[in-house]
Symmetry: C2
Subunit: 214 residues, 2 copies
């Protein structure tokens, strides 16, 4: 029988650089089970109990690693969202003076809408679960916190570059996050039948063009 780290000269338990949970085999089994159930049954039809069953572990072992389904979704989406936010951050910080801040803001909004288009449903489920348990708003989720921060920096740059501008970057950033929420995005598509492009245009008119002409 092979024991984990049981070999002689067991290497020092080095901190894992990659995604932090790479060590725990249960985590992988859980994520695999969840992925599979999501595909087979749709996002809504999957329960924590079923995930535990499918992963072949007990309820408690599941809850010890993920407090709810939203957290599982978070992790399933994390690679994508991390990459996305990193790229966005990178663009904001490393395209410093090449483009006017307004144009960087516009391009960032377009990128966010692209991301929404791909992942709105999963993001929405994350939000539901996240806000459901504690007394939290969707804006307190790490994803939206970081998005808020990035947009805030952009808006600060906009105000720094623009004369006679009267906005509060912090407030506008939060409002922008709200308008970019998956909830609103899905509503626009579902009820008003708007396309990605229409939604992008509407947001840019409000938050870029609107600020631009003081």
């Amino acid at each position: 029988m092979t024991k984990i780290n049981g070999d002689a000269n067991s290497p020092p338990k080095q901190v894992i650089h990659s995604q932090e949970a790479a060590k725990d085999p249960y985590v992988e089994r859980i994520l695999d089970a969840a992925r599979q159930l999501f595909i087979e049954n749709g996002l809504e039809a999957v329960s924590m109990h079923r995930i535990a069953k499918k992963a072949g572990i007990g309820q408690a072992s599941l809850y010890r690693r993920f407090t709810d389904i939203g957290e599982i979704c978070s992790v399933l989406l994390r690679d994508n969202s991390e990459r996305f936010l990193n790229e966005l951050e990178h663009e904001v910080q490393l395209t410093p003076v090449k483009l006017p801040a307004f144009e960087r803001l516009q391009s960032s909004i377009e990128r966010v809408v692209d991301f929404l288009e791909q992942h709105a449903e999963l993001l929405n489920l994350i939000k539901t679960e996240f806000t459901g348990k504690k007394q939290l708003t969707q804006f307190e989720h790490p994803f939206f916190q970081r998005l808020n921060m990035i947009l805030f920096q952009l808006l600060q740059q906009v105000t720094a570059e623009t004369e006679n501008i009267l906005i509060d970057p912090q407030f506008v950033a939060t409002a922008l996050v709200s308008v970019l929420s998956p909830d609103l995005y899905l509503f626009q598509k579902k009820v008003h039948g708007r396309s990605k492009e229409q939604i992008t245009k509407g947001i840019i008119t409000l938050f870029v063009t609107g600020l631009r002409n003081p």
Copy 2:
């Protein structure tokens, strides 16, 4: 014993004009029980089971009238929200040309924020429950639908009065509803410590002043 509609010459079952549930004594008992439990235990600590117990009725009898706690909250808030929306609608439609549309828009936003300040928590709970069950977004709740409609009309008037304006009233109305959502309001107060006045100012800067200067 008095039978409901059991008298001779029973009058044709006329549609009830007042709040529709006025007939059913169970509804009153349920609402009383809910009100009391909400006060005693806080919004979050109350379950459907406890409401049924407190009202002295069975689970099914409760569910036959209210599909979830959100619906109970809706009804508890309905008098207030109906009155509020009626007033808002009235002002929008009957203050036609006395004030410029921009100023009516501003005043309406202020009124909505006042309402949020009073009822944000209840509204938020309604939203949670409403969106939780079916695949619905908060914007599909009747309250927000009607608010959306009112703001849409206002924004149409704004565009009619203003030259060179380039907004899509339907889109802006929905964005405005999003920024006026209880979720965002509570977040602003809780995390950023903003006052009602600061929030009002921020929204008006974005959605009134921003549009005003094309």
